[in-house]
Amino acid sequence: MDVIYFAWVRERIGLPRETVDTNAATVADLVDELRAREPRYALAFADMSAIRVALDQELTGLDASLEGVREVAFFPPMTGG
């Protein structure tokens, strides 16, 4: 699936998007897998209260299922307007 990062999450991980092969069942499982990969992921996902997630461009929670999902996005709380 496509995993996309925005704002300081993108800066900490060091890339805007990547394709990830995963069997993770939920967003939280995917975060655990990414954290285990490299320190930059562990740094980006150190405080999950500062992370928002969207599945196929809809805001959701960390316990959401990844079944059938094509695009996962991680980003900080939004600051529009």
Binding site: F6, Q57, E58, F75, P76, M78, T79, G80, G81
Partner: protein
């Protein structure tokens, strides 16, 4: 088109003229324009960079506009939000609402702004003399949002 996400500036009077064109049933037209301030907590701001999530941004704004239409008797509603590099004094966002009476237009405009501030995928980065910083989401913005969910 009621939602536009763009890098270029917008012309308030041209947008209002478009909303009014060919109709005389609108009694109230409320607009809000958000601007880049030259001062942040960390000091003077020389540039503001706005990142967004193409695709999701338009969807989120369209959802917010449809919800406003469900809640208030609006004749029209418009959101224009810019992204990319902006300078202090630049226009960032325009919200305009049209209704037969002012209360609906005022309330809907506030609702749209409150929602897009913390539910539309935009992120602001301020550049200043001491470097660049991502703007933190404010607790007061979440509180502003919560008043619309209380019935």
């Amino acid at each position: 088109m009621s939602v536009r996400v763009q890098t270029q500036d917008f012309d308030l009077s041209a947008e209002l003229a478009t909303m009014r064109a060919g109709r005389s049933d609108i009694g109230a037209l409320v607009t809000f324009t958000g601007l880049v301030r030259d001062m942040a907590k960390s000091g003077p701001v020389t540039e503001m960079e706005l990142e967004h999530y193409p695709g999701m941004t338009e969807r989120a704004l369209e959802q917010i506009v449809s919800e406003a239409h469900e809640r208030w008797p609006l004749q029209d509603a418009l959101i224009i939000h810019r992204h990319g590099p902006l300078a202090p004094g630049d226009q960032i966002v325009l919200v305009a609402t049209a209704s037969p009476h002012r209360h609906a237009a005022f309330e809907a405009a506030e609702f749209l702004m409150d929602y897009l501030k913390s539910r539309a995928p935009f992120w602001k980065k301020e550049h200043g003399a001491t470097g660049a910083q991502w703007v933190d989401a404010r607790e007061s913005d979440e509180q502003a949002l919560s008043r619309w969910t209380k019935s």
